[in-house]
């Protein structure tokens, strides 16, 4: 990849994306060929917020490339607890590793960190901002299941605070994709994302009701609506309930619909869907490893 860091999906061209996805496909097909690819390299895992999938898949990805990882551990056990700034933390850790994967609760954290680091920074989530490596594995999954061109996708749930949504929406502007955004009024896409989509001339429509568009969709990307986004419990249950899907909901869907979710889910997708051909979210999560292998290899070799 010609980029020094991966901070936002906005920085990615179609060529960048396809290069990573092609490499990920090669890795998935023949992982043994990449076993020594990053031997001797170390990846630092700096997660200032909890993570299971992202952290473990980056850890696994680096190890499967023959490299190793070093983990900052939880905030409670690190110097951050003593009041160290993120800028200082990054300046120190870059001396221990060849690249840094960073998750942080503040928007713009990865962008700032990249200004203090001479090694590649990968944004693994900055508050309600961006999560571009998730987007790469989402795109990989979409490409494998539905194709990235002439795509009609519905993105549903918490579109306001959902960083996976912001990155995915932005990256999809590189492709011939019609994007439908389905959410309660209070959780619509933020102004900055709508601005970018408009600037890119994206084909975008917003809905409050999935039924308006479900039958047209090739992919339905579901995200979790979090309790803390609502002032009271009743309002949360009322709203969240309208954006959960089960087999009845999918009656109107195409048989070829691909249902995705960045996980973790709570009750947005009924377990009865798990065993159907619609369910693609576990495959999606598994794709995190080859895609992150491809991403890390690309950043570390500057190719």
């Amino acid at each position: 990849m010609r980029h020094d860091h991966l901070i936002s999906a906005n920085q990615l061209t179609r060529e960048d994306i396809e290069a990573v996805l092609d490499r990920a496909a090669d890795i998935a097909e023949n992982p043994a060929a990449f076993r020594e690819q990053q031997a001797g390299s170390v990846l630092a895992l700096c997660f200032f917020e909890p993570s299971t999938r992202t952290k473990m898949s980056f850890d696994t990805a680096m190890k499967r490339l023959g490299g190793d990882t070093t983990d900052m551990g939880s905030v409670e056990s690190s110097s951050v607890k003593k009041g160290e700034s993120l800028a200082d933390t990054v300046r120190v850790i870059q001396g221990y590793a060849d690249a840094i994967v960073l998750r942080h609760p503040s928007e713009g954290a990865a962008k700032m960190a990249s200004e203090f680091a001479d090694v590649p920074i990968v944004n693994a989530g900055d508050g309600a901002g961006q999560h571009p490596s998730q987007t790469l594995l989402d795109l990989f999954t979409i490409r494998e299941n539905a194709g990235l061109d002439d795509l009609t996708i519905g993105i549903m749930g918490d579109l306001k605070y959902g960083r996976t949504v912001h990155s995915l929406a932005s990256a999809l502007t590189n492709f011939d994709a019609r994007q439908h955004f389905i959410s309660p009024e209070s959780l619509r896409l933020p102004r900055s994302v709508r601005f970018d989509l408009h600037e890119e001339g994206a084909q975008v429509r917003e809905h409050t009701d999935l039924d308006e568009v479900l039958s047209e969709l090739d992919v339905l990307y579901v995200t979790r609506i979090q309790r803390e986004r609502f002032p009271d419990e009743n309002e949360y249950h009322k709203v969240a309930g309208e954006y959960q899907i089960d087999l009845d909901t999918l009656d109107a869907a195409s048989d070829d619909l691909t249902v995705m979710h960045p996980l973790p889910r709570v009750d947005e997708i009924a377990p009865e869907i798990d065993e159907t051909a619609y369910a693609t979210y576990f495959e999606q999560a598994h794709n995190g490893v080859p895609v992150r292998m491809a991403l890390l290899d690309s950043l570390l070799t500057h190719e």
Partner: protein, 153 residues
């Protein structure tokens, strides 16, 4: 000589910032970092009647010539402003307010969860977009009441 020019006397050398949106003169001074401590004489007209703007402000700073980059920052709050550089009572140069590509250290991000609002060694930076500004770090867009977000002493 029109009525408003009578209110604020001519200067010998310096900069006249005219056609500032009514009520923004003090913000203009704040952006330019002019607080009188450097000893320069500053004259202000606030809410002066204007044919073009209805009401306008006018700022005259003696013995200081503003640079184009200083002037450009003013575009955020005073897009209609005209700037005359005065030497020996004559207008020696006229500068146009042009929108810069970005502004650094002038505005504070309204997103309290932005990294520029944390205790980090980072200066705010905003990209100037069509009808507003956008935080380079968290992408928050500010369109209305930009002057409310001025981060100047």
């Amino acid at each position: 000589m029109s009525e408003h020019e009578l209110r604020v006397s001519k200067i010998r050398n310096g900069t006249v910032i005219d056609h500032v949106s009514g009520g923004q003169a003090l913000n203009v001074l704040a952006i330019l970092g002019i607080d009188g401590e450097a000893g320069e004489s500053v004259s202000l007209g606030i809410n002066v009647p204007s044919d073009r703007l209805g009401k306008k402000d006018i700022v005259k700073v003696e013995d200081r010539e503003l640079s184009q980059s200083e002037v450009d920052v003013l575009s955020l709050i005073a897009p209609e402003a005209t700037i005359n550089i005065v030497r020996d009572y004559e207008v020696a140069d006229k500068l146009r307010v042009e929108r810069p590509d970005f502004v650094t250290g002038v505005l504070s991000c309204p997103n309290r969860n932005c990294i520029t609002q944390a205790n980090e060694p980072v200066v705010s930076k905003f990209d100037v977009v069509d009808d507003g500004v956008r935080c380079t770090y968290c992408s928050t867009i500010v369109r209305e009441d930009i002057a409310d977000h001025l981060d100047v002493d």
